[in-house]
Symmetry: C2
Subunit: 290 residues, 2 copies
Amino acid sequence: MEQLLLMPPRTTEPPETDSAFNRLYHGNCEALLPTLPDACVDLIVTSPPYADQRKNSYGGIAPDDCVAWFLPIAAQLQRVLKPTGSFILNIKERVVNGERHTYVIELILAMWQQGWLWTEEYNWHKKNAYPGKWSNRFRDAWERCIHFTRQRKFAMYQEAVMVPVGDWAEGRLRNLSETDRRRDESRAKSGFGKNVSNWVGREMVYPTNVLHMATETGNRNHSAAFHVALPLWFIKLFTQEGDVVLDPFIGSGTTAVAAKQLGRRWIGIEKEASYIQIAQQRIREAVLPT
Amino acid sequence: MEQLLLMPPRTTEPPETDSAFNRLYHGNCEALLPTLPDACVDLIVTSPPYADQRKNSYGGIAPDDCVAWFLPIAAQLQRVLKPTGSFILNIKERVVNGERHTYVIELILAMWQQGWLWTEEYNWHKKNAYPGKWSNRFRDAWERCIHFTRQRKFAMYQEAVMVPVGDWAEGRLRNLSETDRRRDESRAKSGFGKNVSNWVGREMVYPTNVLHMATETGNRNHSAAFHVALPLWFIKLFTQEGDVVLDPFIGSGTTAVAAKQLGRRWIGIEKEASYIQIAQQRIREAVLPT
DNA sequence: GTTCCGCATGAATCGATAG
DNA sequence: ACTATCGATTCATGCGGAA
């Protein structure tokens, strides 16, 4: 059970008084989460290795065992989350024997019994869905991002994710020339331009609970569960600079990359040594916005 | 309990031998569904008046009572559906006391116990979500279209809903005005251009399980739950000409309009007299494709 | 015939107020 | 305390009218 200190705190911020942050922990989160203090995390973002989804490289959990396996972890997550914090669970039920398996909705009900509030379910529309052809279904192009909270009142910074008026994901911006429009589209798509001031003067609106994002493609060294744009969006929405983001199944480190890019502190847990290597590399290369 | 014969069968098809079809039934579906024979329906498409959503004009069901209220209806629907048929349930859980209510996922589990297969969950992305601003959530821009079947093998005609290849929204319509582009985008995305011949010569691909459609607004005489494009899509996908489409909560008749436009037979049930009037009018005005 | 602009209209939700 | 009602908030769509 290693504990790896990856990066020193950025010098532009007060020095960390607690070395538990900005670290990757190598081990099972069932064992590691109990070592964290109560209410030390502002946001949990994760995509669990559910239902054999990462079977080859991770050793996934069988669909029927998902709920029983995850509930004790969810209890720990509830403990380490601040009362005003949020938990974003990116998940999608697998097809088992021709049917959608029920473990996700059973998990929602079980976590609700556990005391979690099922505040919202965001919808991640994957614009580049995995290819394939089946006789009984089409390509699956969406996943759930389930938003659990501990309280009805929680931290949310909606202004941080405002978008230009119009359907920005579809590429429509009013009153701009075609050239301007395309440039601005690409800037918006690439992600969340560092400066919202880029959009000053344009009409900004709040987004909806549907996120249009592509999945990550073409990465040779790792298979990321989600594109960095996904944790970026939720981290901006539910935390401020210096807040703490936790991913108990961090895999190739995407959540930590997003947290570092946004100047948040982070905690990552991963049990696979091979993922730890890749995550270290990616987090090291992640750049802070200038 | 009226029974209204609306339209004679179209002359280009064999005359109806069973006058039970192409009719609006006025009454509660709890009472009317048992009068239908077994296995007479190819597709059920409906959006129930769940959870007070039509309270003012319909008298909705309280969220806590939804499952118990719907289960006997679901049992009847299972009986009247052909073994190879499909049931599309358009529904979304309301926010109750700051949380998403659990009646939808409880219903899925209960219907699964009842023998339904939870084959798929299509995602309707509502491009024009209802406006609003709240401190704890964004505008809700998606609904579930839950696909239940009786068997693992069922009728599905995927070719009927193929769409032109390529991301039509990006770059291909540079030289058109914004208005033209918007119109053409919506036509392409919805995939129901009146004339598929518009797309002849272009490469066609299968869609995903995410549907991009607007809700119907601006209609003076009725407030349609879903745009006609929604039942059109599922009717094309799961039925052939002459097949039977059932909507047990047909409201303003949208499902029947779609079925008539596609040359399918239909059965509509509605308990509100005011909706019957509107539906009659809309169905009468619906035109068959030339 | 087109294109553009203005305006009414929603299967909503929250928070405050009133009973 | 607990429930019912009402105002405020917000934006894509499609229509009509005008250029």
